[in-house]
């Protein structure tokens, strides 16, 4: 899974690309952790546009990204969810815990 970070006007954007399963999630989370520690964005957009598949491993990743953001006083918004990702997110009620686009 590819993880890219871009600085934006009010913070940063993390773009993920690939299939976000248990196999990919460990390395992706470590990379996210170090990028957030390094850049400390006030607001973070987690761009899911190029994530074609996600399972419960992605839920934990989103919750952990939000936790890191809260610790450094920032915010998180998850954007550009594919229908499959959206369905997983809503099936567990994650939209009640995390700011999800739409």
């Amino acid at each position: 899974m590819r993880v890219e970070y871009q600085t934006c006007a009010n913070g940063g954007r993390l773009s993920l690309a690939g299939e976000l399963d248990h196999h990919a999630a460990g390395a992706a989370m470590r990379r996210i952790q170090s990028l957030l520690g390094e850049h400390q964005p006030g607001h973070l957009e987690l761009d899911m546009q190029r994530v074609g598949f996600m399972d419960s491993s992605g839920i934990a990743l989103m919750l952990n990204a939000q936790k890191i953001q809260k610790q450094i006083g920032g915010t998180l918004r998850v954007t550009k969810l594919s229908p499959q990702v959206k369905k997983v997110v809503y099936s567990v009620g994650l939209q009640k815990m995390i700011d999800i686009e739409e």
Partner: protein
């Protein structure tokens, strides 16, 4: 077109390594294609099978080595059935394990795998014996499409 060729059971054995999660999903999707599912139905099946296989890798065989047994068949001409078995640790209390947010995993687990399987499939049944292993059966009916058209 659906025909009798959809009968019979296909079996797959996978080493319990995370690299095989993607392969298990592709297997599930290729098998389900026999019933001409919609894109959404296909995604539901891949997601549920991914959850069950990941559980076997993460929870059944925490020390790595082990084998996951997957079988797939069509029931009644319109329903896909996947059985995912392991010979790992087993689950002490299945009812509790299936509750939302229940997990024995760490920070990188959310305890939502069974919840996802249940919301994406029509039927989920789990049997398990401590020290012997776990069997997860997932079924989903694929509604037939009108000729050439939508469902």
């Amino acid at each position: 077109m659906r025909n009798k060729a959809s009968e019979g059971r296909i079996k797959l054995e996978l080493p319990a390594s995370s690299i095989n999660e993607g392969f298990a999903r592709v297997f599930a999707a290729a098998f389900a294609a026999r019933l001409d599912p919609t894109i959404e139905e296909m995604a539901d099946i891949k997601t549920a099978v991914s959850e069950a296989v990941t559980n076997a890798i993460v929870h059944a065989y925490p020390n790595g080595a082990g084998v996951i047994y997957i079988s797939a068949r069509i029931i009644n001409g319109d329903t896909v059935e996947f059985v995912i078995r392991d010979k790992g640790e087993g689950i002490l209390n299945v009812k509790q394990a299936m509750e939302p947010m229940y997990t024995t995993g760490g920070e990188d687990r959310s305890g939502m795998g069974f919840t996802i399987m249940q919301s994406f499939m029509d039927k989920v049944s789990v049997t398990s014996h401590l020290g012997k292993g776990t069997r997860v059966r997932l079924c989903k009916r694929i509604s037939p499409r009108a000729a050439g058209g939508k469902k």
